[in-house]
């Protein structure tokens, strides 16, 4: 993959983001819900409503609002949140690291467990282990992440109180972080006790997000491995006397990776989208939790800002996935 290709993809992101901005702006004006009507209490007068509408620029026509929005957007101004009364970009960037850490832990869990299950079920094909893995996959896929979240709270936070129920950090801990990447920062600083505590808070939400993806990865990889395992070069490897484990991990796995990466990438994007409900249930202060609050309050600038950042994230993820193809498939490097 050439730098020119990469540059082209990044440039293509601009019209994509513009399209997202247009769609989100128009949709938010079509769906029911007036942010000012949501805000005012029962004793407010029509004059109060008109004044607030004017102060938030909602008294102007929708095309005019869109022009103003775009004008601000190109200058990097995402507007001011109606409910949080702060700069949208600052708010979103402040919460994004929490979601990224959650997603990162979830994807790490998904890949590790998914690969392990796929390899185990292929290695012990035809045994009870394969049946067991298939059963686990079916259950993991059948239950959506928010239901997993509730079941995990019951099992590992209440029944066996191994992990905290909510939050990102113990409320009693007085710790000042220089960045919003708490986990990364604690690891870099060598504060492993703190990192363990942060991981404890991440464990259940990450697992709730990861479980469906674990099943997807395990299924796709297992299917790919089984296709590869009947190829002639695998037979040749057997004739040469390579061990089953070596054939599986060194010969079959690299050739079975491509479809898994494709699907993992697509599902990772769904996983990031799934953080909204999971963050809400675990009171995890990420961007998904903030989006829920913004949607409840019809905080139009904040919804627009979060959606644009999500869109940018998805574009970057897609580019990263394409880059990873090139890494695993030599033909794509040329």
């Amino acid at each position: 993959m050439s730098p020119a290709f990469l540059l082209r993809r990044l440039l293509l992101a601009v019209p994509t983001l513009f399209g997202v901005a247009v769609v989100v702006f128009v949709l938010l004006r079509i769906v029911p819900g007036d942010p000012i009507a949501m805000m005012v209490p029962g004793e407010a007068t029509p004059e109060d409503i008109a004044r607030l509408r004017e102060s938030y620029g909602l008294d102007k026509s929708i095309p005019m609002q869109f022009v103003i929005y775009l004008d601000h957007l190109v200058r990097g101004d995402f507007g001011v949140s109606i409910s949080l009364k702060q700069d949208v970009l600052t708010l979103v960037l402040g919460r994004l690291p929490a979601t990224l850490e959650l997603a990162l832990v979830a994807i790490t869990l998904s890949v590790t467990c998914g690969f392990t299950l796929a390899l185990a079920s292929t290695y012990w094909r035809g045994t009870w282990i394969e049946s067991g893995v298939d059963a686990i996959n079916s259950i993991a896929l059948a239950i959506p992440e928010f239901l997993w979240a509730m079941l995990l709270i019951l099992a590992f936070a209440v029944l066996m109180p191994l992990f905290p129920i909510s939050g990102r950090i113990d409320p009693m801990r007085a710790t000042a972080f220089a960045t919003q990447f708490y986990l990364v920062e604690s690891l870099v600083r060598g504060q492993f006790g703190l990192a363990r505590e942060l991981l404890g808070h991440l464990a259940l939400p990450a697992l709730a997000l990861a479980l469906p993806l674990i099943a997807v990865i395990a299924r796709v990889l297992k299917s790919s491995l089984q296709e590869v395992m009947v190829q002639d070069y695998i037979l040749l490897a057997r004739i040469k006397g390579f061990s089953n484990l070596r054939i599986l991990t060194r010969e079959a796995l690299p050739n079975a990776l491509l479809p898994t990466i494709t699907l993992t990438g697509v599902h990772f994007i769904f996983l990031v989208g799934g953080t909204v409900l999971v963050e809400l249930i675990f009171a995890y202060p990420g961007i998904g939790n903030m989006l829920f609050g913004a949607a409840s309050n019809r905080d139009l600038p904040l919804i627009q800002g979060v959606t644009l950042v999500f869109a940018l994230l998805f574009i970057l993820l897609n580019i990263a996935i394409e880059l990873s193809y090139a890494l695993v498939n030599p033909r794509l490097r040329h």
Partner: protein, 515 residues
């Protein structure tokens, strides 16, 4: 009576399944695994502060945030658990003889969290801010004029006259902030590090996750029982239930009644369900068939509110027949609209309707915005069906309700709740029935004329008599359909001494330790 949910979404079904799986399982579990330190009170709470300016923006008018704001900021005047006024930062307060102005004496010895004295000039600065700041309730506070300080007192005129101005100074939007600090750090600096003069100071705030407060040693009202208070923000009821069940929170608010009953019966936990200043009602809009008094009266008399309270609210509500709950000023227990399906049938017959030839209209409702809102409307629709009313349920989001209401475009019937923590009829009946208000559905000259006179009536006895009379007119003519007063469920550890507040506030400074 069918209470099934034919329109339930897949997500609702999954959620219900999850709750059915998870919540009953909790009763077999060991509790108190990670109990908090004795000097810390942890509250599993459902509302997180979006911003910290208590005088403007959506935060300033969110009743749910009053619990938190009252911990950090002082109001001008204290509102006790029964909603009566009591001395606070202003230890004396009164209208003048002709009720044109209010004078308040500022208590000596009150300090801001930085130790600096809270002065009458500070109070005047805050009143001026309240009167001039663009805020959701600016029209009300714009009545504050000609603010003057004299010695330890502050006085201001109330023009135009507002009967409940003193009551208003106890909560929404009316918290004091330090002028010297705000002017020094600015709007953004204040958002980052808010300061007040209340019983607690902010120690750490993790937006959307938790708020940790530390008792302010210099508080004029004395030291609270708990030195540290943690509000854990758990929007989902299942999370709050898990928090109290496990023992990692000392107190949890707002949960389904089934869970409340289960939790309070557990050893080591107590529970209280107390009435709040929030009522359920159905707005009636005099358009189409709803302009017919027989239809409206039949709709009122056909509803068995007692049954709704007992079956749907599990007894945790109180049926009402006027917009005023028993704890409000001007409440008159003699005004009733009894359940009488026979009378409802007769009224409908006068207008040519019967169960065979029903009158038809739309009733709008939210689903899940308030406890059992949709189920309540379903039950009502069934009760109406029996007398000859065919109501078609339209479910919408609360945002849609607000939008339609401000445009006066609600359906002939629309379920809603109305809070009134001032306990003054002007804040409920006045706003909900005055047609010039953006929050009313009824359009009527009779009601408007009566309210216009009551809004400027300065004789309190006459004002209350007027509201009682108007309430009777409204009930007799079925201009609105009051249903019941909501209760608030609170579950707490047996070691916690919790005192309910009629406005539904959870005030850490009022929570003690049981010996």
């Amino acid at each position: 009576m069918p209470f099934d949910r034919p329109n339930a979404k897949r997500r609702d079904i999954l959620r219900a399944t999850a709750s059915a799986l998870v919540l009953p399982g909790l009763q077999f579990l060991p509790r108190d695994a990670w109990a908090q330190a004795g000097d810390t009170l942890t509250i599993a709470y459902n509302v997180s502060p979006p911003s910290w300016d208590p005088n403007t923006g959506p935060s300033s008018v969110s009743p749910g945030l009053s619990s938190i704001f009252r911990s950090i900021y002082d109001p001008y005047v204290v509102q006790k658990e029964d909603l009566s006024l009591a001395p606070g930062v202003c230890d004396q307060f009164a209208w003048n003889a002709d009720k044109s102005a209010i004078t308040m004496r500022v208590r000596k010895g009150v300090t801001w969290h930085d130790g600096r004295a809270l002065t009458p000039a500070d109070v005047a600065w805050n009143l001026n801010r309240l009167a001039t700041l663009p805020a959701p309730l600016q029209s009300i506070f714009a009545s504050i004029k000609n603010i003057k300080t004299a010695g330890d007192s502050v006085s201001f005129e109330v023009t135009p006259w507002r009967a409940n101005m003193l009551e208003r100074l106890t909560f929404l939007g009316c918290y004091l902030i330090p002028p010297h600090y705000y002017e020094k750090v600015g709007k953004e600096g204040f958002e980052k590090a808010p300061m007040g003069s209340g019983p607690y100071m902010i120690e750490q705030f993790e937006r959307g996750s938790f708020l940790r407060l530390k008792a302010y040693k210099g508080y004029w009202g004395g030291a609270p029982a708990y030195d540290t208070v943690v509000f854990k923000f758990a929007t989902d009821a299942a999370t709050r239930i898990a928090e109290i069940e496990r023992g990692s929170s000392d107190l949890a608010v707002d949960m389904p009644w089934e869970e409340f009953d289960r939790l309070k019966a557990k050893p080591g936990l107590s529970g209280v369900a107390h009435p709040t200043t929030d009522i359920a009602m159905i707005f009636l809009h005099n358009i189409g068939v709803m302009a017919d008094p027989n239809v409206r009266k039949a709709a009122v008399h056909a509803i068995d509110k007692k049954l709704i309270v007992e079956r749907i609210q599990r007894g945790y509500a109180r049926q009402i027949d006027t917009l005023l709950a028993p704890q409000y000023k001007g409440y008159d227990a003699s005004i009733t609209t009894p359940y009488d399906p026979k009378l409802a049938t007769e009224l409908l017959a006068k207008s040519g309707f019967s169960p065979a030839k029903p009158v038809e209209f739309t009733v709008q409702t939210t689903r899940g915005y308030k406890p059992k809102d949709y189920e309540t409307v379903q039950a009502i629709v069934e009760m109406w069906r029996r007398v000859g009313i065919k109501a078609n349920i339209e479910v919408y989001e609360i945002a849609k309700h607000f939008e339609l209401r401000t445009q006066h475009k609600l359906a002939p019937a629309a379920f809603y709740n109305w809070g009134n923590s001032t306990a003054d009829p002007e804040s409920s009946l006045g706003s909900a029935m005055f047609s010039k208000s953006p929050h009313t559905s009824w359009k009527g000259g009779e009601v408007d004329a009566a309210l216009s006179a009551l809004f400027i009536e300065k004789d309190e006895a006459k004002r209350m008599a007027g509201y009682k009379s108007l309430n009777k007119t409204i009930a007799d003519n079925a201009y609105i359909l009051p249903l019941f007063q909501f209760y608030q469920p609170v579950v707490y550890k047996a070691s916690v001494d919790f005192k309910p507040h009629l406005a539904g506030f959870i005030l850490p400074q009022s929570i003690g330790k049981k010996r």
